[in-house]
């Protein structure tokens, strides 16, 4: 495994010397599951103005109701 890493010039992120790794195990991991793959961000989605507006409205509403709940909780303690 170390040879493979050095040949690719990519540093190993989690070198645990006691680890045993053989081909039989590797072939059962999908490429998309590898840390090198999941570390790459997925492309940004384009949100329509209406969708973005709806999300912000929901966000503000949830924040306001949360503040009400917290106020009530603190008020109950007094």
């Amino acid at each position: 495994m170390n040879d493979a890493h050095s040949s690719l010039g990519v540093p190993e992120r989690d070198p645990r010397p006691a680890q045993r790794f053989d081909d039989e195990q590797v072939v059962h991991l999908e490429r998309g599951q590898l840390v090198t793959e999941t570390s790459r961000p997925v492309p940004r989605a384009a949100l329509s103005a209406r969708a973005a507006g709806g999300l912000w409205a929901l966000r503000v509403f949830a924040a306001l109701v949360s503040l009400m709940v917290m106020y009530t909780f603190i008020d109950q303690l007094r």
Partner: protein, 445 residues
């Protein structure tokens, strides 16, 4: 798609995950269905039984003690069916994309939304974790043990489960503990509900003059079945476990089994609570001092009280593990650093630190004398209910994202149910939040 060591650089995290996948592959190849189900079970059961936590079980018991079974017995299966719909989406997105919820929201919809989600999660998790320690404290108080023991027990458990450097080890320990959520069912049996009492409680009508308390219990009961941490946890845990699109069917079984068990055990707490039902009895705050285990002992005997107290300790302990994990996943995903139980502490320092730090912070809070225990427990669930719709909307959006999910996108009926759930949860949270605020500010009587 498969890979060999020479194709891509591999990390210790990959190594650990692929070992688990080897067992899955062998079980699948040998057509050993039960073994395959056992190997792939975990995130769904843990999310559901983790949510049968201290505040939830206290909420169910308070429901039973205050209103009997009539209102909530039919509601619990409906709520867990609702939880299944949400959690199945999380599992599916995690298995297909191999990424956690926090990472996908942040990368797909922008950093602001990712960090908002993580901030909401941290807030609700902190409050909920306080309630989990409270739950352990209430359980231990029955055995005349103090807050210090509760704090030490909770923290020791978090550190112990993190020590292995393997997702599978963490998951199996948590699953082993979660089995004891069944103690609530045992408590219900020991409470010996008589047929006549059960029938009378089914006919019990909530008093009309106490709408705010009913709304609090309703909102906290909704918050007892689906919460933001469950969404973060199940998606991230499914990815961390190494599940793939081929495992979605088993992931559904895992989630359904978790929902069924949680509904039955939650029903157990409700029935045990109904043993305390007097109609004109003490309000839910009245149980704060002695605690439900003590009250149950008085009504149904020491065995029922002891089992209930042990159940509260278990409920708090399992939830501490899963909620700390969800916080750590979210922190790691949003910060863009290693976030896996399969990584070593050296390589995933932020993940391990977040796991321990939030537990430590919550533990400190419960050492403050005179904390209003039941109020914290119930309000933790309410806060989760209020913040849940935002998380659910992004969940539905991710599950409908064809670029990410391909053929695994939501079906129309799943979207219809998902949107109904979001509306229901939003209404429950808003109804309590607004009504209680108006009462607190004396704008209504």
């Amino acid at each position: 798609m498969t890979v060999t060591p020479t194709e891509l650089p591999l990390t210790g995290e990959d190594t650990a995950r692929s070992r688990d996948r080897l067992h899955v592959h062998r079980a699948r190849g040998q057509n050993r269905r039960w073994l395959l189900l056992w190997l792939l079970a975990g995130p769904g059961i843990l999310a559901m039984l983790g949510e049968n936590d201290g505040p939830s079980m206290i909420a169910y018991t308070a429901d039973g003690a205050q209103y009997g079974l009539a209102f909530f017995v039919p509601l619990i299966p409906v709520l867990f069916a609702m939880a299944y719909i949400c959690q199945e989406m999380c599992m599916r997105v995690g298995a297909v994309t191999h990424r956690g919820y926090g990472a996908l929201v942040l990368q797909r919809y922008g950093r602001a939304w990712g960090w908002f989600g993580a901030a909401d999660l941290t807030l609700t998790n902190l409050v909920t974790l306080v309630a989990e320690f409270v739950s352990i404290r209430v359980g231990l108080a029955y055995f005349h043990l103090g807050s210090g023991i509760a704090v030490a027990l909770g923290l020791a458990l978090v550190v112990f489960t993190l020590s292995g450097g393997r997702y599978r080890r963490w998951e199996r320990i948590a699953l082993g503990l979660a089995v004891f959520n069944g103690l609530f069912l045992l408590a219900a049996i020991l409470a010996r509900p008589r047929g006549g009492t059960v029938v009378r409680s089914l006919a019990f009508v909530p008093p009309g003059g106490n709408v705010n308390t009913l709304l609090l219990l309703l909102a906290s009961t909704v918050g007892a079945t689906v919460t933001p941490w469950m969404i973060f946890f199940q998606q991230s845990a499914s990815a961390d476990k190494g599940m793939t699109a081929r495992d979605v069917k088993h992931g559904r079984c895992d989630t359904a089994a978790g929902a069924a068990l949680a509904a039955v055990f939650g029903g157990g707490a409700l029935i045990a609570g109904a043993a305390l039902l007097t109609g004109k009895g003490p309000g839910i705050q009245g149980f704060t001092g002695a605690g439900f285990p003590g009250a149950l002992t008085h009504v149904a005997g020491s065995a029922a009280g002891t089992v209930f107290a042990l159940g509260l300790i278990e409920a708090g302990a399992v939830a501490i593990l899963t909620i700390c994990a969800s916080t750590a996943y979210a922190a790691g995903e949003c910060a863009g650093v290693s976030h896996s139980f399969n990584s070593s502490p050296r390589n995933a320092a932020a993940f391990y630190a977040a796991n321990i730090a939030i537990a430590l912070l919550a533990a400190v809070v419960i050492l403050i004398p005179g904390a209003p225990l039941l109020s914290i427990a119930l309000n933790a669930n309410v806060l989760a209910t209020v913040l849940l719709p935002v998380s659910l909307v992004f969940m539905v959006m991710l599950a409908n994202d064809t670029a990410l999910m391909g053929p695994w996108v939501n079906k129309r009926w799943a979207n219809a149910i998902g949107i109904t759930v979001i509306a229901f949860v939003g209404l429950c949270g808003a109804a309590y939040g607004i009504d209680s605020f108006l009462q607190a500010t004396h704008l209504i009587g």
